[in-house]
């Protein structure tokens, strides 16, 4: 639940056509994982609200963790004027947005992502087990027990930063990233989990693999990425047979 203390929102023009919204939790609320997740959901809702209201005036609305960057359709739209309108809207809807974030109605459904945690794809599980002093089965159990919130999409198209893993399995990125991480690899870095939508270099600790499509480049715009900032995610363990059946591959 977002605390009754409404996040302070600063809204500023930072370039010719760019408006940055920053949402700051008060220091006593900022550390809580639950508050950080709620904040991501809140930002997702603010984004939807602004999109509904101002649609054609904006070129981009980029949400992330505790901010929302808006690129205005300049010079057709004058940023100073719309800045004023954004401030009015956000402040008038503040209470409603907090209620929405907290309420169970209007909650987006939790997206379930099937994961195969087998040894042949869980490339860093053994090393993590040694570092964290936890059995591999325990790491998997803690990973899939959590409900995650999409805090940001970036780094590469469709790459979702999922907050937050159980602190017992939080671990730093690998000091030497892999030159190649297989598409669909599920990993942990610091306090977050993430999935590589395509094969790429990467430094996250890999503990499983999914065939769930995170980025479908030839799909129509609304179906490009199934995950959006504010969405809830759960990992569901599946066996090798099911994974291969779904089209998964255990190759490098």
């Amino acid at each position: 639940m977002l605390s009754a203390k409404i996040p302070d929102t600063t809204i500023q023009l930072i370039a010719e056509d760019a408006i940055m919204l920053r949402f700051d939790l008060s220091p006593e609320n900022a550390q809580s994982i639950e508050n950080k997740k709620s904040l991501a959901q809140h930002i997702g809702l603010v984004r939807s609200l602004l999109l509904d209201h101002f649609a054609q005036s904006f070129v981009e609305l980029i949400p992330s963790y505790s901010s929302l960057l808006i690129i205005v359709d300049f010079p057709r739209v004058e940023p100073e004027i719309i800045l004023h309108d954004i401030k009015s809207l956000v402040s008038s809807k503040k209470e409603a947005l907090i209620d929405l974030s907290n309420a169970n109605t209007n909650r987006p459904e939790t997206i379930e992502i099937p994961v195969y945690y087998g040894e042949e794809v869980a490339l860093d599980l053994k090393a993590l087990s040694d570092t964290l002093n936890l059995a591999p089965e325990k790491i998997i159990q803690l990973h899939k027990a959590q409900e995650y919130t999409v805090c940001a999409l970036g780094f590469s198209p469709g790459f979702a930063y999922l907050g937050f893993v159980d602190e017992r399995i939080a671990c730093a990125r690998k000091s030497t990233p892999r030159a190649k991480v297989a598409k669909g690899s599920v990993g942990i870095a610091d306090q977050q989990s993430g999935i590589y939508p395509m094969q790429s270099p990467g430094g996250w600790n890999i503990i499983g693999r999914t065939n769930f499509p995170l980025f479908s480049p030839s799909a129509e715009p609304s179906k490009l990425c199934p995950l959006k900032v504010g969405d809830r995610v759960r990992f569901i363990e599946i066996d090798k047979h099911s994974f291969l059946d779904q089209g998964g591959s255990v190759d490098d």
């Binding site: 500023q12 980029i62 970036g154 590469s156």
Partner: protein, 313 residues
Amino acid sequence: MLTTKTLAKLNIKKAGAACSIQDLGRKGFQYLGLSQGGAADLHAYLWANYLIENNAGAAAFEITLGQFAIEFEADTEIAITGAEANATINGESVALWCGLKIKAGDLLEIKLPRTGLLNYLSISGGIQCEQHFGSRTIVAREKTGPNGGCTLKLGDNIHYLARTSKRKSTRSTPSHYIPDYGQSINLKAIPTPASDYFSASEVERFLASSYLISPQSNRMGYRLKGASLKSMSSGLPSEGINFGAVQVPADGNPIILLSDRQTLGGYPKIASISKLDCYQLAQRRPGQEIRFEEASIPQCQNGLREFLNFFGL
């Protein structure tokens, strides 16, 4: 739909250091982590289309460091803008920054530029290829866009419209609009408002210092070497990055983020560079000098508004 138009091929004989297809870039996809892409020097790109009365956003070639040659299958009209380079059609010198007539079978060459980095080659009607995310930009870093997200190479065939131009006159860019890319550049910088990340004196130091462009500079961003900047914070939660944002990573060397930048970043930002100045920056080479001058948002908006209005955007 391409089937209703008659298409002609052009064949790439030399692809130079890097050659890609560019236009105005993608709009509305950064929230998914897709780069904006688009022509790095929007000024020269828009002129290239304007000179042959193309739509402002028609896809064109972006050629890095010349050494480029193509053969046309059918008549058309073209224009070459950007870096100061010798260009020839069938061995005969032709001028840059003006419309040029092409006949079937013509061989166009663009040599290594003396100053500047990028040339734009526009073709009447624009390059015909499929759009990805509403744009024909190739973002090689992401491997997204037409041509499998790859830069063009020897032997590649690119399509354009086979049609004859009815225009009698050709346009050319007045010389006072043609930039001198060899000159060192002063970039207008809008300091980040109310910064918790940089002290006032550090911002002053940034604005007063001179920098050199490092070799680690490309379409993603230009890294600068010079006075190392100290942030009061080691990192912040990743946030969206606007075109022209100046990030300062742990090593203190500022980076100016451009067309192929990643959508999110966690390094503190000290300023944003005027977009018009970023287009000029994209023509500078490693080793060239950069200085900054503080500018206001309205000042930068005035210049940008005038520029975009001229090209109908």
